[in-house]
Amino acid sequence: MESRPEPPATDSPDFYAGLCRALAASDMGAFETLFRHLHAPLLRYASSLVGPDAADDVVQDAFVRIWNARERLDPDRSLRALLYQTVRNLAFNRTRDRRLHDEKHVEMSVTVASPPAPDAVTDGARLDDHLGRWIEALPPRQREALTLSRFDGLTHDEIADAMGVSPRTVNNHLVAALKTLRSHLSRYDSTLLAG
């Protein structure tokens, strides 16, 4: 696909600072580059916060906000962190509005099984399935920090900025998450940890 993210070298701070300056000049091409670059990971991130159904809206709204604020962007601040933070805020607003709405309206509900417990495993499950489940079972903020750091490649500073905490707290979340995953892994197959 032409929208596949480019090599990681383009994830450097300079890359985003350059985009930031181009955006201030209303460069639509730069905005599209930014969009193609971060749309997929942001969609996953939003999905983890508000579920897959609402994620698309949240990400679209976030990009609209960035565009509308393009002339006031600070090139010294990570544009990527700003996008993640915007998605996060919009997601939480939506969750809050949804809760208020649900309190006022009794809606028809559909019976859905409770989410699988962390160790509920699937037949023929491979390591990645297990890891996925264990990660899902982490406390939300640990999971969030871990995903942003390990899979989306954000720096500690960017994660701290997006989540509104200190880089030290990000570190604490990550260490706690790794320890939990280690205990799952050692119960699952302790030889993996020796490798």
Binding site: M28, R44, T111, S114, G124, G132, L178
Partner: protein, 334 residues
């Protein structure tokens, strides 16, 4: 997703505070996480189009972006000619809004789960989106995502159905696991034929799984068993793990689909409730029955509820008699 095996520097520093063995293991966990890295993801090709259309719509915060190229007018337009395109633009915009509403409506319809219900006295065959088939026993509800998709044209990562009641599944092999979610367990397969009974009420709260072909795994939060053809297991109410596999006669697995009646290890009230659902009659239980009496019963071809009740009453010091809307079952006088 680009692979990032190296630890972020701050995290490396933090791990350095741990004991050496611990540190090595935690770094190993970090590396192993690579297996769980999500795919790069291919954003739906229209995502950018939708965004750029929104940006092109004038909003109070942002001036319109679209540079509309118009043929140069021979003379400077006066106010009247400059205004002319306006109604047309309004119509276009109204059409765009209407089209967007239609799209939103279709998506909203799409993401609503599909619910199929077999009412008492009926059985329903369901063709699932992947070609798998489910047969619902009387008084059963099955819920699943339309097309097993997360969004239109976006596959969910598993083919999951939620079951309340009893159903027999013939699952098409596929890359995505097929998962039956019940109130207390998950049954996962890759292509096989099996029965799941997950009913609540009348003293029954277990999930029972029996396999007629292939292999399935039954899992709860704390444990899992793998069943092969001719085996069954149950997750009793409040139990942490499924029971060990036990043999089940092949014909009893889905007897109900062929007009038979089979129950395994159920309390008497639950069996009577099953009779009620199956033939849509009322069966009242008068007096007390031994609370822990469990019933296992297989009738290949009962003609009606009475065949089952006769069998039930036979070995159990029970009697039954017809009432205006069904039957009542009561203890035999001593």
């Amino acid at each position: 997703m680009p692979d990032r095996p190296t630890l972020p520097p701050q995290l490396r520093d933090a791990l350095a505070a741990e004991p050496a063995a611990e540190q090595a293991e935690l770094e190993r966990v970090w590396d192993l996480l690579d297996a769980a890295a999500p795919d790069a993801g291919t954003p739906s090709s229209d995502a950018w189009d939708r965004l750029s259309r929104r940006l092109a719509t004038p909003s109070p915060e942002a001036p319109p972006l679209r540079r509309v190229t118009r043929p140069a007018r021979p003379q400077a337009p006066d106010r009247r000619t400059a205004r002319q395109p306006r109604p047309l633009r309004l119509v276009t915009r109204a059409l765009a809004v209407a089209a967007a509403l239609v799209v939103v409506g279709v998506v909203a319809w799409w993401v609503r789960p599909v619910t199929v219900t077999a009412s008492p006295g009926a059985q329903v065959a369901v063709a699932l989106p992947d070609g798998s088939e489910a047969t619902l026993n009387s008084g059963t509800t099955l819920t699943y995502r339309r097309g097993f998709d997360r969004l239109p044209f976006v596959d969910a990562d598993r083919r999951s159905v939620a079951l309340a009641g009893e159903a027999f599944f013939a699952v098409e092999p596929g890359a995505r696991p097929f998962v039956v979610e019940t109130h207390n367990a998950e049954v996962t397969v890759l292509g096989t034929r099996f029965n799941v009974r997950a009913r609540q009420g009348h003293g029954e709260d277990a999930t029972q799984v029996a396999v007629s072909e292939g292999r399935v795994r039954v899992a709860t939060g704390a444990g899992a068993v793998v069943l092969t053809a001719g085996e069954s297991s149950a997750v009793p109410a409040g139990a942490l793990a499924p029971t060990a596999p036990s043999a089940v006669p092949a014909e009893a697995v889905d007897a109900w689909r062929a007009g038979g009646f089979a129950v395994r290890n159920l309390p008497l009230p639950a069996v009577l409730a099953e009779v009620e659902r199956r033939w849509d009659v009322r069966v009242a239980l008068r007096g007390t029955s031994p609370p822990d009496a469990r019933v296992t019963l297989y009738l290949a071809a009962p003609d009606g509820p009475e065949d089952v009740l006769r069998d039930l009453a036979g070995g159990r010091d029970l009697r039954y008699r017809p009432t205006s809307d069904g039957f009542e079952v009561f203890p035999a006088a001593p």
